[in-house]
């Protein structure tokens, strides 16, 4: 299977080709079946690949062909198959498969369904390319490809202005990050003479000895790319707006797969980052700040999808925190568990929206009786997000927070625990407002109906994942996932593995669980017993509340500080174009018109005048020619 690894991305690509060529005219809803079958096969192959890698196969490179070869520069289309990429491939294909199946129900009534099922498998193809690539250049192809598909899918309902604007925003903010990736890639080639992962990581030691500054710059440039793709501060604000896309897109791209590309990039480059001086600390601090920052915004949002979006930003912050404190395994572990429970939360939200056509939680409520499957699966996912044992989120998040403590970053640990409280609170609030209490809009409530099986079965399967996926990391720090992933990410420089002290671990776990319970307790107290009453509390803390509701005014800050600056620069450029470039051309045209205007007088329209000028011309020719021939004139 390892030799045929390229089949895994080839299947979604084939589904894309079929759907995009034949979908519009002939296939309609059948596009969904084609895409789902392709993804199902892909998932099976991915599981086979995983089993084979599990069987002790170390890192292998499978080269398809040489893509770019110029002088010393080589960028082959080659897959690096090792535990890390095998793990990612399984996560990506399995979640994608379930979301494809779900979309068959969710998008059934949409006229653009063939478009949807063209871009979705194309996205999966690029995502697999990204995680399989064995060099930075090929990874960049996948990186840009997922960005493109993200743009197309956020703007899927482009007839309305909001999705179109959100798509543009996502694309532009990602481009800023991509600039960092490009700089990192170029510097990598100039410094290491290669862009292949293993070449670069082999030489990290040498470069660290001779040129540590360049190494730091490379790492920070790559991290800028990661902040763009993974929606970390300061490039986070595109992700909540991306919720304008169809909900399965939010689940697949903006929760489970694409946004984790930045985490994957940093985890893959662990040897580079570990040797790059302060870069890793920057990663950890940015992650921690983002986690806390996004969680505070999620506390007060009323749009159910926006709560989930900020939650995603926050959880991605946890992953970067883990990378920063030297626990890449925990980061990838959390990436995997988060993919399950966050995809589930989004698909559950989608099920609610599908049932009620409403995503403002102030108009929902009491839906647990109407949507039992959605309710129970989302409850599992919410528990996982709030890190309640033994659900998946507990094992991975606890490990991140614990790693921050044991690796000597007590402040980051504190931030992690505090964010845990906030996380538990906002998830409690979201689920309570949606599913409990009296229906606030009776009309909506009466018309709500549980989604069809094609949507609920993926929910149930994801719920099983969200409940059980954590056990691959049991026991803590010595579980299956650790033994499996460590060879990939611990090549050089990561923190030396020490036998965990179970007393400390138990204490840290207790702190995490306590944080989760406190958050849930506050949530229940506020929304069930109304003590303190949330509305009164919002009024009492007016300025703070407004700050959070307006997302810390980050969008406004960007609009005023950056967007207007850039607009001014574009205005100057525009003026130069209009007045100088166009002006020159227009002056020239004006001159020609002037000359032509004078010359037109020669065209009298009188035949006699033309005849006269012909005769005069002939006469002139005869005189001149004859003059020369007779020697009257001389040359």
């Amino acid at each position: 299977m390892i030799e045929r690894v390229w089949l895994i991305p080839a299947l979604p690509l084939a589904a894309f080709a079929v759907n995009v060529l034949l979908g519009r005219r002939w296939m309609g809803r059948a596009t969904g079946i084609v895409a789902s079958v392709a993804l199902g096969l892909s998932t099976l192959l991915a599981l086979l690949l995983f089993a084979e890698v599990l069987g002790g196969e170390a890192a292998r490179t499978v080269t398809l062909y040489e893509w770019i070869g110029v002088g010393d520069f080589h960028a082959p289309v080659a897959a690096l198959v090792d535990p890390l990429s095998a793990f990612m491939v399984v996560v990506v294909t399995s979640i994608s498969f379930l979301i494809h199946v779900y979309s068959n129900g969710y998008m059934a009534q949409d006229r653009g369904i063939h478009r949807f099922f063209s871009w979705l498998p194309l996205f999966v193809f690029f995502m697999l390319l990204l995680v399989l690539a064995d060099n930075y250049v090929l990874m960049f192809v996948g990186w840009e490809g997922v960005g493109l598909c993200s743009y197309l899918l956020i703007g899927f309902w482009f007839e309305r202005p909001e999705p179109y604007v959100a798509a543009k925003k996502a694309f532009v903010m990602n481009r800023i990050g991509d600039w960092g990736f490009t700089v990192g890639m170029i510097l990598t080639f100039l410094t290491f003479g290669s862009v292949a992962f293993h070449d670069v990581f082999d030489k990290v030691g040498e470069v660290q000895a001779t040129d540590p500054l360049t190494l730091t710059v490379i790492a920070l440039a790559f991290f800028l790319g990661a902040t763009g793709k993974s929606a970390q501060l300061p490039l986070h604000s595109w992700l909540p707006d991306a919720m304008e896309g169809p909900t399965p897109v939010s689940a697949l791209i903006h929760a489970a797969t694409m946004v984790t590309a930045g985490v994957y990039l940093v985890a893959r480059s662990t040897p580079l980052f570990a040797a790059a001086g302060p870069a890793l600390l920057v990663v950890g601090v940015v992650g921690a700040i983002t986690a806390l920052f996004a969680a505070t915004i999620a506390l007060v949002q009323f749009d159910i999808k926006r709560v989930m979006a900020y939650s995603t930003v926050s959880q991605l912050g946890y992953m970067f925190l883990a990378l920063g404190v030297g626990a890449p395994v925990a980061a990838i572990f959390h990436l995997g568990t988060h993919a399950f429970f966050k995809a589930l939360l989004f698909l559950g939200s989608g099920s609610v929206i599908h049932a009620t056509e409403e995503q403002d939680m102030r108009r929902l409520g009491g839906l647990r009786r109407k949507l039992p499957v959605t309710f129970w699966t989302m409850l599992v996912a919410g528990g996982a997000l709030a890190a309640l044992p033994p659900l998946a989120g507990f094992w991975s998040k606890d490990e991140i927070v614990g790693a921050a403590f044991t690796n000597g970053y007590p402040i980051l640990w504190g931030v992690g625990v505090l964010t845990g409280v906030l996380t538990a609170f906002y998830v409690t609030r979201a689920l309570y407002l949606t599913f409990y209490g009296e229906p606030r809009d009776v009309h909506l409530y009466e018309h709500a109906h549980e989604s069809p099986a094609v949507m609920t079965i993926p929910l149930v399967l994801l719920a099983a994942g969200a409940a059980l996926a954590g056990f691959v990391g049991f026991p803590p720090e010595a579980g299956f996932v650790h033994r499996f992933l460590e060879p990939s990410v611990e090549a050089a420089g990561a923190a030396p593995h020490v036998q965990p002290d179970y007393v400390i671990l138990a204490g840290l776990a207790a702190a995490s669980v306590a944080a989760g319970l406190v958050g849930i307790g506050i949530g229940l107290a506020m929304y069930v017993r109304r003590r303190p009453d949330p509305v009164a509390l919002a009024r009492a803390t007016g300025p703070v509340y407004r700050l959070l509701v307006n997302k810390w005014y980050v969008d406004e800050l960007y609009d005023h500080r950056f967007v207007e600056l850039v607009r001014a620069a574009f205005g100057a450029s525009w003026a130069f174009d209009v007045h100088i470039i166009d002006g020159l051309v227009n002056r020239f045209g004006w001159l020609m018109a002037l000359i032509g205007g004078e010359l037109r007088r020669a065209q009298t329209g009188v035949v006699g005048n033309y005849a006269l000028s012909i005769a005069a011309g002939v006469l002139l020719l005869i005189v001149v020619y004859g003059g020369y021939a007779a020697g009257v004139f001389r040359w």
Binding site: L599, Q603, V606
Partner: protein, 105 residues
């Protein structure tokens, strides 16, 4: 073979015909008369061709072949020219070229 009439006389007649024709083209306003004057110019050229041809040999074919060509061109020219005059006359009852200045720039 010699000729009683010297070459110069032919050329003189030819030139006279040509300039009468040219003068007519420039001065006259009636389109039909202008066409006739053009014919006059063409035949002046024919006369010169034949004279030179005769001078160079017994009707040297290089000159006389051109005369035939000129006949053909003249016939075509008259056909087209008269057609234009006719079309003009149908659109407006005049054949005075000075009154037709639609292509004035």
């Amino acid at each position: 073979m010699t000729s009683l009439v010297p070459l110069g006389a032919f050329i003189a007649v030819s030139a006279a015909l040509f300039f009468i024709g040219l003068g007519g083209v420039l001065v006259r306003r009636n389109a039909v008369v202008i066409l006739m004057c053009v014919e006059l110019m063409l035949n002046a050229a024919n006369l010169a061709f034949v004279a030179f041809s005769r001078r160079l040999g017994v009707l040297d074919e290089r000159g006389s072949v051109f005369v035939v060509f000129v006949f053909v061109v003249a016939a075509a020219e008259v056909a087209v020219g008269l057609a234009i005059v006719l079309a003009l006359y149908r659109n407006r009852p005049t054949v005075d070229v000075d009154e037709v200045t639609e292509i004035k720039g």
